[in-house]
Symmetry: D2
Subunit: 282 residues, 4 copies
């Protein structure tokens, strides 16, 4: 069959959901290739991710049929051709390790997504973006211009029809208003294993406390949560003879790995959100 | 709803499978709680694991309906109440670490399975089994008596309606005939990360080669494969100042952890077999 | 040579320290088998762990010579025959997983230490201790009797010449006075990766936040620190379909592993303390 | 003190070695900052790595004094200023992931070494090297020209006074003669966890066997060993729904990480060789 599709669906649980989806898909001649499902026992929320093949190419009709069939359940449906990539805008400041890693993996085809533009409050990383042939836009920001600058970012999100925004060590705090505009669509890399050391210089704090393992956390950014829902985490063992600088270097390594994994999961529609926690069909 | 069921299903892929299952389940008033599916792209084999709830308690009718609906696909169906445990017989020799761990987790309820009997070619571990209130049977074995002894084991498997046999450091090689009687039902713990050092004393070989990580592998035992399909593996970092004895001690730790995890996955019907590799819905 | 010794030494840094030690040891005919050294760059504290062999068996004279040679540096010296085990008293309440693991490894010889007595505020775990042939003492405690009970524990520490106290899921908070009596000698297992979720039921908190990795931390207990210096930590990856109970079960696994490792490091004099962090010659 | 030095030393074990070194160093006014020592119990070989500070800057005299003092033990001594970097030549073919990672970490200062030249049998990666300002030399090779090409590489090693050669996915087999010229000085990254799948396409083999963990191994290249002494290894967990291509991508990630770590250990003189295994003072 010529077309692969990715379907994700979230709604209140109840009998007949999988059958409802299967009925609709079969009516469109679909064969399900991969299906993962989870119902959260507390929230009674049903999450489904399905990859299927069909010769039919009328996405709009398929989506409408699904919504119609499940409409009584306030369903959230996403359906797209698997070869139409998610699009994300990457925000950076001066540190290059996460950006380099994202663009390198993107070039290799490991990350199946489109990056229409890299945005920064500094000009520092322009050569990195341009080396990979990706437009680079500088939007400087001060306390006074934050509102305008964020509006410009939102404008870029809209222009490029971006599905998400990746904060790849973007060292600015985004306003609650901005975050509220893009729920479940902003991914940040936190330079600590959450729950972690609060405040600045977490690797130095980790060094002072003599932790034996350090980590990093990729999470969604939300307006009302200090640290949003966790998408991915990873850690590495360290020892007493590692200096704070060594920990910073290892931290860079974990950060880039964790962020790239989280972005890859997002790009393949594998991340669902239930309250303050994620469901990840890895 | 009062009853939870576990359904696993494997057959040739094709359109309508998930719908077929969903149709049947809904006809029995079922609500699907958790569903994992995977189709192997090379073998074109469809694997499904479903946990569902229903007030209906006619397992036999449900299973028959499923088989009938999918019969053209040479389907392998397993359906059981989730609270009716899998039953495994544990085979041991003299080393106690895997047995202790299995029985301890079993006692805590971490391993949801029944262990009707522990069998050994030695009397050494009788106190361990008896402490946990599990019958212990000694079936000594020599080259000459192997056939008889294995027949006695098979007899126990049959008597106790055991779903599987766990080799918890059982230091005898089972005959191909024995293994062929219990396909996909014998789980072994291999004292090496596979592919690994061949022959005896793998931890000493690992020490001589100065490996930096050691591991262990739980796998199905098959008649025709030297090392059967891998169910679970784990590793631990080691260093030059670890003696071969230290590696043996660490190996014990990995072995018991890996075997217990593999047995737990088996006990919850999470392991499927496609050719020489497993599908594990963890 | 017939005797192996373990020497640890901590003092202000300065030239000639290793030579000073080497001079003394050579004067006693010693051959150094293993030596690890670290000087903390901030605190300017020198830490040394040496394992050596000699035919000489006058420990007292050797220790005196070392102290004399380095006396101007306020040196802390520990010297003992390697085959004279450290002695620790284990405190427990009702949860058995850490105690089972410690005693099992002790039986196998993995943990080279002596456990003269297990103490508990409940009678629950008496069978575990007795099975391993270790005396079990019940010292119940209430808010009113805490002072008396702790005095009784200290009395046992003194009677048994214990080097340390291991809190193997001992669910009582020890008074600052008690902790101050045993600096660097009380080891606790914290049911969280530090810095971690505060308060009760950390695994449930972890579940609510949807963390992807959980962990545990073994640390020294100090009077003035909320969470004392970290000795060892470990983690395990988890997923959204793990219930809070699953996390508790995995937590048990990590806790027993981490505590046993920490106790093993302590038993072999591998842990040094500099301010709020440890130096661990693993 | 103005100068930091790195000393490594390997010789037959015997009493007085550490004292001998300490005597000499103190005579030169040295303060030892970090010292790691290990004596292999089977080979009776003593290995020492020492970092020390002194105002003295006569390296040649210090080294001579050390050799003189320990000459009866066939000692191998290396002594250098800590700020005089090791120099390595990097050999590549067409795959860029290891080279990118090495040069990126080198730029950040994580890898404290000099890379005077990158050599390849293809022109493909010239832009990568040049972007980091490192000369790139193409030395094509065929079966007929191998001898000449290897001579040219050795010539570069000699010209640039290189301490080592790093095979960063260099897809040519070096002749035994070449390897014999550079004992303990050639580092290779093996695209498998050793002992591993033999032959080509190891990640595809891993996929077919359904391994649950894949890895990579950095090792010294030796003339007489199929797979030389292991310097560093790492692994990552995978699952059944990872395609062989996914495993290749994850393999790239492990390979670059493991090779960079191994090169870093080599660059800081942390790797010793005893027979077919390494001692790594990490």
């Amino acid at each position: 069959m010529s077309n692969q599709y990715l379907l994700t669906l979230q709604c209140l649980d109840g009998p007949g959901l999988i059958k409802g989806v299967a009925d609709v898909l079969l009516a469109y001649g679909a064969n399900i290739v991969e299906q993962a499902q989870f119902t959260d026992p507390e929230a009674q929320l049903f999450c489904l991710r399905t990859r299927f093949e069909t010769d039919n190419d009328d996405v709009i009709a398929m989506r409408a049929s699904l919504v119609e069939r499940l409409t009584h359940r306030e369903v959230a449906v996403s359906l797209r051709r698997a070869d139409v990539n998610r699009r994300v805008i990457v925000l950076v400041s001066k540190a290059d390790h996460c950006l380099e890693d994202l663009l390198y993996r993107h070039k290799l085809g490991e990350l199946r997504l489109d990056i229409p533009v890299v945005v920064s409050n500094h000009d520092t990383l322009r050569p990195v973006a341009e080396r990979y042939g990706i437009p680079f836009v500088v939007l400087p920001v001060t306390a006074e211009t934050r509102r305008t600058q964020e509006a410009a970012i939102l404008q870029l999100v809209s222009e490029h029809a971006a599905d998400g925004v990746v904060l790849a060590r973007y060292m600015q705090i985004l306003s609650d208003e901005f975050c509220a505009q893009l729920p479940k669509r902003i991914i940040n890399i936190h330079h600590s294993f959450l729950p972690g050391f609060k405040g600045a210089r977490p690797y130095h704090q980790a060094h002072e406390r003599g932790v034996k393992i350090i980590g990093a956390t990729a999470h969604f950014v939300t307006a009302d949560l200090d640290e949003g829902p966790i998408i991915e985490q990873d850690v590495q063992r360290v020892a007493h003879n590692y200096s704070a600088d060594d920990l910073v270097a290892i931290g860079r390594d974990i950060e880039r790995r964790v962020l790239s994994r989280a972005v890859g999961l997002f790009a393949e529609d594998r991340v669902f959100l239930i309250g303050s926690r994620t469901i990840v069909f890895a």
